[in-house]
Point group: C2
Chain length 284, copies 2
């Protein structure tokens, strides 16, 4: 069984799936991008074209040749049988447990024995999915961040069943596509980045929702005190209010109160962040 | 009663007290620096001379003339009666409740009626001290960060008794000495900066002490994921292990376990951070 990865499939060509596929192609891998129907594939093609333009503008060294060559390495398909034929399948389908489990159950019957399955799930642990893969030893999480070309971390997290050689092959693949691999030694909800971000953003919201300080002053404090380019409320505005709201409304009593405050003062007023032109700050 | 501040005393010329005094003098204020005996004053004079050299190197626009003029505006004294004669007294004496209360009780009898008292305490609330001042309406917290010339935030926090005009005068003073004032609307242990830092640093330590990830990977994640210049373990190394240890050893059960882990793996091995040449990273 080969441990080195030379062909890649990305399942789900949404915002992050399309970035994973394009980045892998940009770094020289032939990539199959799978989505469920022709409409989804047309949207995917638009995303890929847009990514080519974005890379041209934002990625050092990118030029017409390299960004177009990446497009040429991408094969779009709605045929899961075709998609299953790869050394590595990165799953980025919707964050619904039954959708993911069904996807893995089908893949299990279609993919070659040696194929490694990796989930990009943000909200589930690989343990939640491993049984449905039929190959827990060749399954793990490989979690990317939005704006993969600059926020180039890839969190790698296996279960107790993951073969160390498979884990290592995926770490090497992450490096090969230009990522800085972040190796988790065991499962942790939120991986590394969200484990840091969630309590940080919560503490910031506590200051403002509790009436202690204004968002601009909190951000100033963090920027000046730590040298960071952005403060927590600028991060809220980039992420948007919905994800923090969802996390906090499933938390303890204090968190639920903050979620209610966020809903009343921001979400219900359409102030969802940068994407809507206003969040904690106004953008137009 | 004048509300504008033109003369300043700093009580305690330790690491931060000397920075507050020098910065105020650098911005044109005549400053009295008080400490308890001649030995403390000799140490203070060395700190001021060192600060003059540091400003010359690190502060944009600083030159021999401005850094020496700041030194000339500083008066060192062990006479609390002389020190008490100022529009604003910033207290930066050791973080011991009885020492601070005793200082305020004495000051209360020595200082002119109009004098504003401000504590730089990191660990106490102004409410813990206000009774001993004899003038709760003219008392509040004014909290600075280390390396005041670049980390130029001044957190301003009153009690329910603080006169709003006094609060405003202190905010204006903070601006006048080149600070970005961070206005707290009510008392909060840890002010803004530590309210953000403490849970952030705790979450990072949880990842490492829990065996989930290595310090370098956690720092990479934060730097790449948020664009920050430093990750949490670089911050630990700058702060040193003792303060986080003290905070966590007074926390909940999980925090106490992390404190014990920090003690066993770092403090007991002399790995206290940057100042000792090794912490989570090695520096020589």
């Amino acid at each position: 069984m080969p441990t080195s990865i030379s062909t890649v499939t990305v399942l789900g060509a949404g915002v992050l799936g399309s970035q994973i596929a394009y980045q892998s192609a940009y770094k020289g891998f032939p990539v199959i991008a799978y989505d469920i129907d022709d409409e989804a594939l047309r949207a995917a093609q638009k995303r890929f074209d847009h990514l080519a333009a974005t890379y041209l503008n934002e990625v050092p060294g990118a030029d017409d040749e390299t960004t177009q060559a990446a497009l040429a390495r991408l094969t779009l398909t709605t045929d899961l049988g075709q998609a299953a034929d790869a050394d590595l399948i990165i799953e980025a389908v919707p964050e619904l447990l039954d959708v993911k489990q069904q996807t893995y159950s089908t893949l299990a019957t279609l993919a070659p024995q040696h194929t490694i399955f990796a989930t990009n799930s943000s909200t589930m642990l690989p343990s939640d999915l491993k049984e449905s893969t039929g190959r827990p030893d060749r399954f793990l999480a490989l979690h990317f961040a939005n704006r993969i070309w600059s926020s180039n971390i890839a969190e790698v997290m296996g279960t107790a069943d993951t073969d160390p050689a498979v884990y290592e092959a995926v770490v090497e693949f992450a490096v090969a596509i230009g990522m800085v691999p972040i190796e988790l030694h065991k499962e942790k909800a939120g991986y590394v980045l969200n484990t840091l971000l969630v309590p940080f953003l919560r503490a910031a919201l506590e200051l403002v929702a509790g009436g202690y300080a204004e968002p601009g002053d909190v951000d100033n404090t963090w920027r000046i005190g730590t040298g960071a380019p952005v403060g927590p409320f600028q991060i809220y505005d980039v992420i948007g209010m919905r994800t923090p709201y969802n996390i906090m409304s499933h938390g303890d009593e204090d968190a639920q109160q903050m979620a209610a405050w966020l809903k009343k003062n921001y979400i219900d007023k359409g102030k969802l962040g940068l994407a809507t032109g206003e969040g904690f700050y106004k953008y137009f």
